[in-house]
Amino acid sequence: MSWLVVAPVALPLAAAAIAFAASGRVALQRAVSTVASGALLVLSVLLLVEVSRSGVQVMQGGGWQAPFGVSLVADHLSAIMVAVGAAMAFAVAIYALRDIDPHRESLGYHPLFQVLLAGINGAFLTGDLFNLYVWFEVLLIASFVLLTLGNRRDQLEGGLKYVATNLVSSMLLLAAIGLTYGATGTLNMADLAGALREVPPELATALAMLFLIAFGIKAAVFPLFFWLPASYHTPPVSVSAIFAAMLTKVGVYALIRAFTLLFAHDVAYTHQVLLWIAGFTMVTGVLGAAAQNEFRKILSFHIVSQIGYMIMGLALATPLALAGAIYFVIHNIVAKGNLFLVSGLAQRVGGSFELAKLGGLYRHTPLLGVLFLIPAFSLGGFPPLSGFWAKLLVVLAGIEAQSYWIVAIALAVGLLTIYSMTKIWQAAFWSPLPEGRTLGPRPPWAMVAPVVGLAVLTLVLGIWIAPFFALMEAAATELLDPTVYVGAVLGDAAAAALEAVR
């Protein structure tokens, strides 16, 4: 069923089209957005099942065969990313029904959310480098509007930094794609896997570094992350939750794809650079977070620090490390997105995102405290939650590869993460309410339910890890042997040719 491959792109796109055509009828838009997000989740899980049963799924757009047409490819990594993204999107879609104010809804929040999902899934599934750029643009344009929807002053300020840096990154990406096309004459990723081995290695390395910068800005790695903490705390919570969960992860996905399928010619150099970046990203992110006193700003800096762990897994490039990196991405999407949603609930009850103005939330709504603790402890790396396994896997891989300094950094950063999480817990939940502030009513169930769902997912990911780990391992094996991907897209002859030059 190759149509499952295109469904995660076509469904949100169709939903966006219907919702745009229904502009002015907010009730209809809400229904379309919710139903489409639910259907997306079902179809994405079906796609993942199909991929894990019968291998890489491919669809050639318009029936034009690769490398001339545009392929959509779902291997394990793509299918996993799409499925977890869909789970997050469904949770946010439900949360947004109560969170987004009528003014923003009338300006088109729901169709834009669907466009964003189409862009994210398109980037995960495309098998063509130029199309990757196009899907990045689709999701960026949607995110520009979502970020500034409502026109508040701080939103525009954060939005400007976000737009400026991301445009620079898009320009670099386009330049890198143009140069790649000039050097190889193809942009189909499966075709490039072979073609890039025939260009001079120093040229391939130069291209790799250009892609590293372009994708690195989008993934918010050191030193190109500053746009993220400047903007993610400004939009409504639903928007910052889906951004925090998915957008940087699309960058990480692109990095993983580029540095396994395309640029594996000089691992000693390129992946050493990645390892340094990983270390710096972890440290600067967590130190930035320690200096913050606003709920969502702390979480934003932690996104940066956690990206470092994922890059570390990619840089080590062993099967265990890659499986760990992918598991880390999955864990982080669920836990980080959920923490942002919890910050919104805390703001509803306590009236502020400033830690100094919050307090007494645990006494007021014990459930809220529990719902914060699960993703926060998971992020900090407490067993048996998902974050523990994620860190364990990359750290084990680091020890195996004898990169002890990066292991030391990863462990120290883990401790500092716990410090930040306890700081939020202490200030917002545990300590008494500051003088002169009152707490509002408990948050509505429609907003609590998605948070509960994601918390359960974090628990399941941690406690019942075996089947998930098997999936991640399959994904890692596939990534380290590009002939599987190439064979599925271009046929066995091309895979054999690649095997011969490898």
Binding site: S2, W3, V6, A10, L13, A14, A16, A17, I18, A19, F20, A21, A22, S23, G24, M59, Q60, G61, G62, G63, L72, G108, P111
Partner: protein
């Protein structure tokens, strides 16, 4: 803008420009033209009308909010992509229906539907922006 010359000229030009935009749209399959450029000309025609008279009148001429035009266009384009699936072909595969009417041969296709979608999206987007600026 209150100019008798512009208004008189616009009433004449509007029909010509709209016809030309549809000509470009239909010509686009094998020759220069297509939904995008046709949509630009169509939007320019209505923009000219909005300049000569005013934005609310131009919106009445369009008979729907430009946002809805945009949405309908996007629906048409997505439907054209999905149509391939009904014939159990790949996404975006073009389906063709050719009618032989004696002297003429009429070719209808999902490719045309896609291009009509692009046309409407372009008209809708440009007019949404233009009307928003006119209101200021």
């Amino acid at each position: 803008m209150n100019s008798l010359i512009l208004r008189t000229a616009t009433s004449l030009l509007l029909a010509v420009l709209l016809l030309f935009s549809i000509f470009l749209l239909l010509r686009g399959h094998d020759l220069p033209g297509g939904g995008f450029i046709g949509g630009l000309v169509g939007a320019a025609a209505i923009a000219l009308y909005a300049l000569a008279f005013d934005a609310p009148r131009a919106e009445r001429l369009l008979r729907a909010s430009p946002r809805i035009v945009f949405g309908v266009g996007l629906c048409a384009a997505v439907a054209a992509g999905l149509a391939g699936g009904l014939a159990s072909l790949d996404f975006l595969t073009g389906l063709w229906w050719i009618f032989d009417l004696g002297p003429f041969e009429v070719k209808l296709s999902t490719v045309l539907l896609f291009d009509v979608g692009v046309y409407l999206v372009v008209v809708g987007t440009i007019l949404t922006m233009l009307f928003a600026l006119e209101e200021r």
